[in-house]
């Protein structure tokens, strides 16, 4: 038992892919081919997730600072509202892959749970392939929009002109990371359909709040 970080999705252990941190998957880590690929995909999701978290904290701090400055001097910091709005669009797409990896995107297990294991894997794989196709299409279309936005130097109206194109570019990047995570899950489902291995599931991260990773930690 590690002292801390057993449930920590950002820990190095989690990155390497122990059973705590991998998405629904078949077989043991040893059975899984393409270890480095898996690690790279998870690393991308985590890196984007960290960026998303930093942006949330950044928006919180700048908004709080804006209130403080306004109370003290009577005028707002120009651009806080505009930048928050634009950054919000970026951070939610940066976090998509990480949310997928930590099991945040909720699906309905009702039907697949009642199917024989192999059939369930096949059904899930089919659903995932259809969704992947639409997400790839979305990635392509948002890329086209991003390139055009960059070419015209698109910006948002307000007190301060905020360039939009960087966020327009972040959207397809976040989608690429999500597509990779989902492709990995799909691959695992297909492998599972062959081997008939059971699926391990994640808890929704909102259920994690009360988990106290350091329960048996240093102070005890």
């Amino acid at each position: 038992m590690g002292a801390s970080g057993d449930n920590d999705p950002l820990s190095p252990d989690a990155l390497i892919g122990d059973t705590h941190s991998v998405p629904p998957i078949a077989g043991t880590p040893a059975d899984r081919p393409g270890g480095p690929v898996r690690r790279a995909i998870h690393a991308l999701a985590t890196a984007f997730g960290v960026l998303a978290a930093l942006l949330i904290v950044g928006i919180m701090l700048s908004t709080a600072l804006d209130v403080l400055v306004r109370q003290l001097t009577g005028s707002s910091i120009p651009g806080v509202v505009e930048y928050s709005e634009v950054l919000l669009a970026g951070l939610v797409f940066l976090g998509l892959a990480y949310a997928q990896r930590t099991g945040a995107h909720i699906g309905v297990d009702l039907v697949t749970e009642r199917l024989p294991v192999r059939t369930a894997h096949v059904v899930r794989a089919i659903g995932l392939v259809v969704v992947l196709a639409v997400l790839l299409w979305t990635t392509y279309e948002t890329t086209v929009v991003a390139i055009r936005s960059f070419e015209v130097g698109e910006f948002r109206f307000g007190l301060v002109p905020v360039p939009i194109w960087p966020v327009r570019m972040v959207i397809p990047l976040g989608l690429v990371a999500l597509v990779l995570e989902l492709a990995l899950t799909t691959y695992d489902e297909i492998t599972g359909a062959r081997t008939g291995a059971a699926t391990t599931r994640h808890e929704h991260p909102e259920a994690d709040s009360s988990v106290v990773p350091g329960e048996n930690g240093p102070r005890s």
């Binding site: 005028s75 505009e82 015209v152 109206f157």
Partner: protein
Amino acid sequence: GGDSGGGGGGGGGAEGQSFDWQYSNYLPPNSSLSTGIANYFDSIEEQGDITVEEFYQESLLSATDTLPGVAQGRADLGFMIALYYPGELPLSQVVGVPFQTDDAEAQVRAMNALYENNEAFRAEYEDQGVHVLSFVPLAPTMIATAEPLEGLAGLEGRQIRAVGLLSQAIEQAGASPVALSAPEVYEAVERGVIDGFTSYPFDVAVANSLNEVASNMTDPGTGLYNLGALVITKSLWDGLPEETRQFMDEQIDQYVTDAIALLAEEEERTCDTFLEAGGTPGVFPEADVEEFEGLVGDSVLQAWQEQAVSAGVAEDQVDGFLDDYQAALEEYAADSSYTPGLVACAERNGN
């Protein structure tokens, strides 16, 4: 139900062709502006085999998504405002320069004429993928405040929500411009987060019940600040039969006349509502307007020119457009009888 008939265009004008269009307007259907456009649709529906399905209040496209949405054909027609697209429509932003005109009729007729005659201006819309059927009159802005606003000096130190070039102007008058999205304005004034707001016409502000929280509405003399446009997907327009385009254009002059009359009526009704609800209409004293204009000087105009150039419009095109715009404003002002509703309202109230 909406099987899209004319979407995508390229039809080539076969006889007896029918059109089934979807139109997006982010405002509610009962505003005078919406009524004016709906009346225009009635007139073209009578002449051609056209059906327009109307969507209001952002149910089809959001306010800021209207230009790209119509350009891409997600709606066939749309009402949009220039203020939301500073990057895409740099020349149109000239309407945000204060102290140009408060004559909504002259402005719309001038812009409609420029759309025909000034290539750079027309290209601004066509490059985005839309064709402008007509510009749409909007009332001048006012400054609404919770506390009475007697004149220019009253702006000193006030926190005022503002948008675009207008925020520069009120900053020069000593106010602190605050960026807030339109839906947040009501509560922000109610709770005293801000002292008031501008970048809002009189009729729309009262229609949105903003007078409940800011009962003092004052015309600062800055005039018009925004420009509306009724647009159609360019590829759809280009693919329409010549005769269809022709009768759609022929109705525009009547539309502008109607729209101005409707706006004036609406502003008069707005005045009734406003006064009944205990609102105080006001105008800045002439000396204050002059002082305000002096303070602002050419700074906002220059800011507009710089923005247009940095958006990629050639400098001589910017200057040429400005000359054409000012000349056209003067020309059409001669035949216009429009008086801003708030100014009339203040007179009625005996101020």
